[in-house]
């Protein structure tokens, strides 16, 4: 899978970006097909890796074969056979499997295999960080170094985590049904969120992760076009990512209301809105789709003042009913304040104080500061902004909150 690691090597100096992209998009289905046939995730991955390397050397010189996936599967399959040949006891059985003709005639199988590979990486025995790491590596084609860098851990640590994850799922077969789809969507959302708002560290965003999550969500949507939550998640990512370029300035967070809407990515907004409007009529919406609908309202509002907060509030009430959690209540409090005034918003916030899941979270303090500001209680607001600044683990967010706490306020 280390197609990217190759980017600085000699062999790939001649690999065009196009071939690199092609290899990266083919890698998961090739790996998926091999794992379906042979099991043994780890040796299949090694074999695919070697096949990708061979392709990155041969294709630029001799041209891309007519069935690139078939070529890779054949070459990787041969590597596996070679490996097994040396294991005398297994020789006969494995040779038969390894000698199967190249599967160039089953494109639909490849598609299923990509999805199954994704399901395999989200195996319930794995912790969420391991699911994320394995997905990024096996399906996303990111190198261990890239994943380690994105999550700010030493490469050796990430290599360990991935290797342990592979051990854990060693004997696991491909899951049959789509029962793991919620876990897959959650993993993609985690990857996106880590890329969009890094949970810690000096940079507000890690763009590559957000981009990768969108690419994978697109892929899942292509495979399961009829699933409302898949469409909802993809739309949510697109509509959120459309605002990316305006979310920070000089390392300081810029809140939604102050962002330059002219610089939002119109193409992403249109695509996201189309997904939402195309999916909503098809039945009762799930949590991702409702969140996408909320994001669509913000993205389509010509200015912060013209935001349809009444509609946003209705959607948050729906969300609070179908997927209740304190973060939703927190957002509902903001919408409530915008529609019915800050006092009602603050009253709703007060219901969260006893909730251990959020009581010590910086967002609660930050929102309370914001609503107190709206209510004209500037001194109290400062205190909560300071508290939020101490609790956040993101430097750009901390800087924003400290500035709010120190802001010169209008007299009276």
């Amino acid at each position: 899978m280390n197609v990217n690691a190759n980017a600085n090597g000699n062999a790939s100096a001649s690999v065009s970006g196009e071939i690199e992209d092609l290899l990266r998009s083919l890698a998961p289905q090739v790996l998926g097909t091999l794992v379906r046939r042979h099991g043994q995730f780890e040796s299949c991955e090694d074999a695919v890796q070697e096949a990708l390397l061979a392709a990155s050397v041969q294709w630029p010189e001799h041209g891309v074969p007519s069935s690139p996936a078939g070529w890779l599967i054949t070459v990787a399959g041969r590597r596996l056979t070679d490996q097994w040949r040396s294991e005398a006891a297994r020789r006969e059985r494995e040779l038969t499997v390894g000698m199967e003709p190249p599967p160039q005639d089953e494109p639909s199988r490849h598609v299923d295999d990509t999805l199954r590979l994704l399901f395999l990486c989200c195996h319930p025995k794995l912790s969420a960080p391991s699911q994320v790491a394995l997905t990024l590596r096996a399906v996303g084609g990111l190198t261990t170094a890239q994943i380690a860098h994105a999550f700010l851990v030493p490469e050796a640590t990430m290599a360990q985590r991935i290797s342990r994850a592979k051990q854990t799922i060693k004997g696991a077969g491909f899951p049959d049904g789509p029962e793991r789809l919620p876990a897959v969507l959650q993993v993609l959302y985690l990857i996106f969120n880590e890329g969009y708002t890094a949970t810690s560290g000096p940079d507000l965003q890690r763009v590559e992760l957000a981009t990768e999550a969108i690419r994978l969500a697109r892929e899942v949507h292509r495979l399961l076009p009829g699933d409302g939550e898949v469409a909802g998640l993809l739309a949510l990512m697109l509509l959120t990512d459309a605002r990316r370029g305006t979310r920070s300035a000089d390392g300081v967070l810029v809140p939604l209301a102050e962002q330059d809407r002219d610089r939002w990515d119109r193409a992403r907004i249109e695509e996201g809105v189309a997904l939402v409007t195309g999916t909503l009529p098809k039945g009762p919406p799930g949590p991702y789709l409702v969140q996408a609908a909320i994001a669509a309202i913000h993205d389509e509002a010509p200015s912060a003042e013209e935001t349809d907060w009444a509609e946003v509030l209705i959607l948050y009430k729906i969300l609070d009913r179908i997927a209740p959690n304190p973060m939703v209540t927190l957002n509902r409090a903001i919408a409530t304040a915008m529609v019915h005034g800050p006092a009602e918003g603050l009253a709703l916030l007060a219901t969260l104080d006893g909730d251990k899941r959020i009581a010590g979270h910086y967002r609660l303090a930050a929102v309370r500061g914001h609503l107190l500001d709206l209510a004209g209680e500037h001194e109290q607001a400062r205190e909560h902004y300071r508290r939020a600044a101490r609790l956040t683990l993101s430097l750009p967010e901390r800087e924003y909150l400290l500035r709010r706490a120190q802001r010169q306020l209008p007299v009276g």
Binding site: R387, R390, Q406
Partner: protein, 122 residues
């Protein structure tokens, strides 16, 4: 010789910094890091979140007790650290003086030699 340069901070003093002062400190750290990276004396740095985010596991003689922060009584706490590898204690002091915190009254850097090292990237 490895030294840990411990940034002792004080919330009251941090809160009192103006936006410009904060910016100078932040940019100063960038400059400082570049200097000791270029000199080859830099190993790693970690900025720690506020102790309000801390959890403490303490020995009780039996089952360890887990308590939430903030737990500090002292005004000063460890805000983060630099791990460096340099020639001598004198050089470590010189390096510590380059850290912008030492230009802010009330903040300090503690220099402590390392006795044992082990880690993935060390």
């Amino acid at each position: 010789m490895k030294y840990l340069l411990i940034m002792q901070v004080n919330q009251e003093i941090l809160d009192a910094l103006s936006e410009d002062e904060r910016k100078l400190v932040m940019e100063g750290h960038g400059e400082f890091m570049k200097t000791i990276q270029d000199s080859g004396e830099f190993i790693l740095t970690q900025a720690l979140a506020d102790p309000a985010n801390s959890t403490v596991v303490s020995g009780t003689g039996g089952t360890p007790a887990v308590t939430d922060g903030p737990f500090i009584e002292a005004k000063e706490f460890m805000g983060g650290f630099y791990l460096i590898d340099c020639e001598s204690k004198e050089r470590a002091i010189e390096i510590a003086k380059l850290i912008p915190d030492t230009r802010v009254k009330g903040l300090s850097i503690e220099i402590r030699p390392v006795m044992f090292s082990c880690g993935a990237d060390l």
